[in-house]
Amino acid sequence: MKEGRPRSFYVLAIFFAAYVLFLYGPMIAIYVLSFQGPQGGLTFPMNGVSTFWIAKLFQGTGIVDLGAAFRRSLLLGVIVMIVTVVLSVAAGMAFRRRFRAQSILFYSAIASLIVPSIITSLGISLEFRIVDDLIKAHWNENFETSMSLLTSGLGAHLTWTLPFGLLIMFAIFNRFDPRLEEAARDLGATPWQAFRHVVLPIILPSVIGIGLFGFTLSWDELARSSQAIGAVNTLPLDLQGLTTTVTNPDIYALGTVISAVSFTVIALALGTIHVLNRRQAAKGSDAGQGLV
């Protein structure tokens, strides 16, 4: 910018920097504090530097069985991610044309996004309890519960991730040029080929974005899990349970480990998106490079 910036630019730039500091400052504080020395407490100053608390976490001593919770959350996150991507892309394709019940689906998604999580969670838990009671009364007296990580828990998470997936698909197809597909069709592509070799390569970066939302929102999800996850806990639920009895930095260590997973996934996704965008920019779309 040669023309010189107005004064408001500098004022707002400082404002923005302060906001970013506000966003990241506290998080960075606990990442640093999780490397406290063995004698260290919950606050600054640091009492030596060590990986004592993180190592302690992996030894599984002290707090609840975190390894199991970790694996459960990871499993659920991956499944939620896959289901969110597949269902969102499919529904996004459907929305490119009018169909009956279109607005019902749209408003369901929006409502699912803004109805308070505790209500959705309570509803799912009631639904499963009532189903359990019916099964006990009519079929099997010894039946315990149909509520579990991959039934009610998966459903609860999807009510949170699917609306984001659908909205991202809307954003994609708002800027999508349908002539590319028509060209493919004119060249004799079947609908599947047009999707696989034209549409998918173009929307792939955003589809990875949907996957990123799917995994991270599930990995950190708490409010919807709270009533609907069944007997076992996910990692965020265990972490929340620990907040009431914080006495030493192992809670920070746990926070750091959970965040490390989030940041790894974010970096992987953003890196892939970046590479794909670069490739698209360099070569044009690679649509049509291969045939089935």
Partner: protein, 319 residues
């Protein structure tokens, strides 16, 4: 025209997940609305099974009876009468539920006002002052990344700063501004509002930014050429055109805070009552009809707020 669009629509990953071309060709003969159903159906089913039917159950169960340990499927208004207990008898004093909702609305208003202020200016900076697309993308990403990380961790993160021996207190003591640690920094209404603002300003930034980038820059130049001051341009051009984003962001923030029980629980030291927390408490006591009744009340109030706000703007048009 119809058929061309129809044929394109066959390209559903659902239909042809097997990658079987023969099936895709066969699918092309299916009626278009059937294909749409196959594409959108799975998502609709998820919402039906895990959102719409559960909501119906919430309403039904709110009219059931209960005892100490189980649900009794018989009509009863007990969930509601228990909730509003004392509301008439105690007049003119407010009953518990009224006080709780007033407190929740107050938190809601504070968080809304602060996130709107922060969100508006952050979005304004990104949309109008950051000229390069790369920088715009990078800085937006910087604001988004925390949203992909854990909320609980972002709450806990305030403990080393705001606690009794935290950075803020020790800093203030060192400078001699205070002699004793300030107690209201953590596990108080202050920390609840702070954490909510910290967590959810994102929901304000994104829709407002979206509205702002759509504003034709020529309009702003026109206002400038017509002699409008910066403030006049802001008030008469930018704010009205950002209104959809402002409304959508406000709906997000308000509904989140209205139903929140985790942030209020963790940051309030489990001491602050709020609309969402009542539901949690009732569930923990296994009083499901009372929990459901509270959920219905919360839902009704949330719905009321959204209806009022969506009068101002057509949400569907803005997405």
């Amino acid at each position: 025209m119809d058929t061309s669009v129809d044929v394109l629509q066959q390209a559903s990953p659902d239909l042809v997940r097997g990658g079987d071309t023969a099936r895709a060709v066969k699918a092309a003969r299916l009626s278009p609305s059937f294909v749409s159903w196959l594409q959108a159906g799975p998502m609709m089913l998820v919402f039906l099974a895990f959102f719409l039917i559960p909501l119906v159950f919430v309403v039904i169960v709110s009219f059931w009876d209960y005892n100490e340990y189980q649900l009794l499927p018989a009509f009863s208004g007990r969930g509601y009468t228990d909730t509003f207990e004392g509301c008439i008898a105690q007049l003119p004093d407010l009953c518990t539920i009224a006080k709780t909702y007033l407190k929740t609305l107050k938190l809601c208003f504070l968080v809304w006002a602060i996130t709107l202020f922060l969100g508006f200016w952050v979005a304004y900076f990104l949309a109008f002052h950051v000229k390069s697309k790369t920088w715009q993308m990078g800085l937006s990403l910087l604001c988004t990344i925390p949203f992909w990380t854990s909320n609980v961790i972002r709450m806990i993160a305030w403990i080393p700063l705001l606690g009794r021996n935290g950075l803020v207190n020790s800093g203030l003591m060192k400078t001699g501004l205070i002699n004793h640690p300030v107690e209201w920094l953590l596990f108080s209404e202050f920390s609840v509002v702070l954490a909510l603002v910290h967590l959810f300003t994102f929901f304000m930034v994104v829709p407002i930014f979206n509205s702002m980038v759509r504003i034709d820059k020529a309009l702003i130049e026109a206002a400038y050429d017509a002699g409008a001051s910066g403030l006049q341009t802001l008030v008469n051009v930018i704010i009205p055109l950002s209104k959809p984003g402002i409304v959508i962001g406000s709906i997000f923030v308000i509904t989140i805070v209205m139903g929140d029980f985790i942030t209020i629980g963790v940051m309030g030291g489990q001491q602050i009552a709020a609309a969402g927390k009542i539901i949690e408490t009732r569930v923990n006591a296994l009083q499901f009809p009372a929990a459901a009744a509270n959920a219905v009340i919360l839902l009704a109030i949330t719905f009321l707020i959204i209806t009022m706000m969506s009068r101002i703007v057509d949400i569907k048009k803005e997405l």
